[in-house]
Amino acid sequence: MIPPSAPAHAGPRVTRPPGALVIEIEGVTKLYKMGAETIHALRGVTLKIHRNEYLAIMGPSGSGKSTLMNMLGCLDTPTDGRYEFNRKNVATMVDDELADIRNREIGFVFQTFNLLPRSDALHNVELPLIYAGLGKSGRMEKARRALVNVGLGERMGHKPNELSGGQRQRVAIARALVNDPSIILADEPTGNLDSKTGEEIMALFEQLYAQGNTIIVVTHEEDIARHARRIVRLRDGLIESDRAVVD
């Protein structure tokens, strides 16, 4: 249940028409060898994700949800099947090519924030731009703008341990946004936050979606998933259902 007092839902709920195809997955399988046992994490998943979508991926643990997310995030490659990202074949890419895709096309938001503990907010947000090879002044400019965009313009010089959980996640979101990626991939983004802060983060996602970002949230919470416009449910390595959310 969403508390009626939550300010994030005071505004109108925007739904934009899907744009160009970003992700196309067809018949993707993933096998893991655990000793003598072979685990079928994905058994043939077919999925299309377009620009301007707000998608939630759900499923109980062991459903292949995490494996699919790693695959979508180009952290992992499929054992078999086709995966095209912006019409480029990702399935056969080598490590460094995948790193480039992750750097330019994907913004990660983790459950545990994964900020560098000894660096301030600004440097954490700057990091993807360093790997993109941007000059110092350009990096500062973009990182500042991203932090202002998530409402942390006043906290740029703070280290993670000087920030609250919600603020840390905002830094992580700014870091995900800073390189203008094609998709933002959030893995249980509210999992380590209390429900009020979690709602604030989901409100931020709503705002980012309205600004024209494509968002994929992986979660096992119905409340969180309901913020999305489309929910894909996994079970036993297969897509169980793929439906639009109706208000």
Binding site: A99, D100, N103, R104, N114, I130, L134, K136
Partner: protein, 477 residues
């Protein structure tokens, strides 16, 4: 960006060429090979290394390298600051290694400088005609029966020089040498080298007078008791006054001091003008037996025509000694090179021992660095996963941990150089006679060794870090 693979081929090639050339340079330098070849190898190594560096950066990606380098340096600095104790203990191994390297280098350079300083007093361009060769001989009986060298051979050589002034010889001076006690009132110095020679000696010797003058030709011919004394002798006999025109006593003869030689310094008991008394050869003959006083003829020659000079001395000596064409030389023509040749094995032994100790110390230091880098990789596995998710490539992670290892090594290197500098300064202060040389070349060598140690020891853990699967690394707690 097409054709970038060529950089990936060029930088390892450059590195291999650099390694081979600098190896050749080191061997050539130690073996004293043709200096032209040695410097060619040195510059080739340097050029190849610079090329390898440039192509390496191009292969890495010029635009990406510099920001990532800055980031890696910042991470290293933060790591060292956060783990001060751990970093300094690890650096200690390298510090010991670098101290060993520099002290060894200082010792070798010091011996070199000491020998040069001692030999400088004689002049490089003097040949010595004597009965015995200056090297060690096994068949001493062959030399023992040679006829003695007579001091008037010098006149024969000088006569020949007068005939051929354009020849390779300049001047010849006889000299004899005996050890005796020198007295002045209550003061006495024993075991002083008494040198009997001619008034032309200053033409051969690269040493100045501190005060006074050398004895004149008239004094020499008249066998006057006029002497020139070395700096240390003057210091010992006349602690608080000028020795000029004062009298000293040697073997119950009175001698007047006409000059004091400038200070030369001494090294490991080698001959030094500082502890010598020089007198005319005829005055010498009154007190000492010339025959047994190691008579020799010192001949100054034109170094550019050394072989010709030796040949000319040889033929003059053979003529003077009346040797037939079938007879072998019964005299020896010596040069300072012989002394240098005897010092070289000592230097080589120090170098070999030093290399061994240094290598061992650096090896232990390198293992420490490797270990700490492994620990660092393990501790920050999750961070590596995060960085990879944000787009860090394999080489980015590799560079990061390599630079971390190199940073600790360079810190150790700087510490070691500082310590070695302090130690050699201390040795120099305690033993002023031992010439301590701490050169810029040693600093460059020490820093190069630290960087190479860092790269070698950091490489394996850094490679392991770079190959981490991002999925596994992100899940690591």
């Amino acid at each position: 960006m097409r054709g970038r693979w060529i950089f990936g081929v060029l930088w390892p090639v450059g590195l291999i060429v650099a390694a081979l050339a600098s190896g050749g340079w080191l061997v050539g330098w130690l073996a004293k090979a043709d200096p032209w070849l040695v410097s060619l190898l040195g510059w080739t190594g340097l050029g190849a290394f610079a090329g390898a560096l440039l192509f390496g950066i191009l292969d890495y990606g010029w635009g990406v390298f510099w920001p990532e380098l800055g980031e890696s340096l910042a991470i290293s600095a933060a790591q060292v600051r956060a783990n001060k104790m751990r970093s300094s203990l690890t650096a200690l191994g390298v510090i010991i290694g670098i101290v060993a390297v520099t002290l060894m280098g200082t010792a070798i350079l010091g011996i070199d400088a000491g020998v040069e300083q001692s030999l400088a007093g004689f002049g490089d361009d003097v040949l010595y005609v004597s009965k015995w060769p200056w090297r060690n001989v096994q068949d001493w009986w062959n030399f023992r029966n040679r006829r003695d060298i007579k001091v008037d051979y010098a006149d024969a050589v000088n006569a020949m020089i007068a005939e051929r002034p354009e020849g390779p010889l300049t001047v010849a001076v006889p000299s004899v040498n005996w050890s005796a006690t020198v007295l002045r009132g209550e003061y006495r110095v024993s075991n002083v080298s008494i040198l009997g020679t001619g008034s032309e000696l200053p033409r051969l010797v690269k040493s100045d007078m501190k005060e006074g003058r050398f004895f004149t030709e008239v004094e020499a011919r008249g066998a006057r008791n006029a002497v020139v004394i070395g700096f240390d002798i003057a210091d010992a006999l006349f602690p608080n006054e000028s020795p000029l025109d004062k009298t000293i006593r040697i073997r119950n003869q009175q001698y007047t001091v006409v000059g004091v030689a400038a200070r030369q310094g001494s090294f490991l008991g080698m001959f030094s003008w500082d502890s010598v008394v020089i007198m005319p050869i005829d005055s010498f003959a009154r007190s000492f037996p010339i025959r047994w006083a190691d008579p020799m003829i010192r001949v100054q020659v034109d170094l550019a025509r050394l072989d010709e000079a030796k040949e000319e001395i040889r033929s003059t000596m053979r003529r003077v000694r009346g040797l037939g064409p079938e007879q072998k030389d019964d005299f020896e023509i010596n040069s300072q090179q012989v002394i240098r040749d005897q010092i070289d094995p000592i230097k080589a032994n120090i170098a070999i021992g030093g290399f061994f100790i240094t290598g061992l110390a650096l090896f232990v230091g390198a293992i420490g660095i490797m270990n700490i880098t492994y620990v660092s990789v393990k501790e920050r596995t999750k961070e590596i996963g995060t960085r990879k998710a944000l787009g860090a490539r394999r080489r980015t992670i590799l560079l990061q941990f390599l630079i971390e290892a190199v940073s600790i090594c360079v810190l150790g290197g700087v510490g070691g150089l500082t310590l070695a500098w302090a130690l050699s300064a201390g040795v120099g202060a305690l033993f002023p006679s031992f010439p301590v040389v701490f050169s810029a070349a040693l600093v460059v060598l020490g820093l190069t060794i630290s960087v190479v140690t860092g790269v070698l020891s950091g490489f394996m853990p850094a490679l392991q870090a770079s190959k981490l699967d991002p999925v596994v690394a992100l899940r690591y707690e």
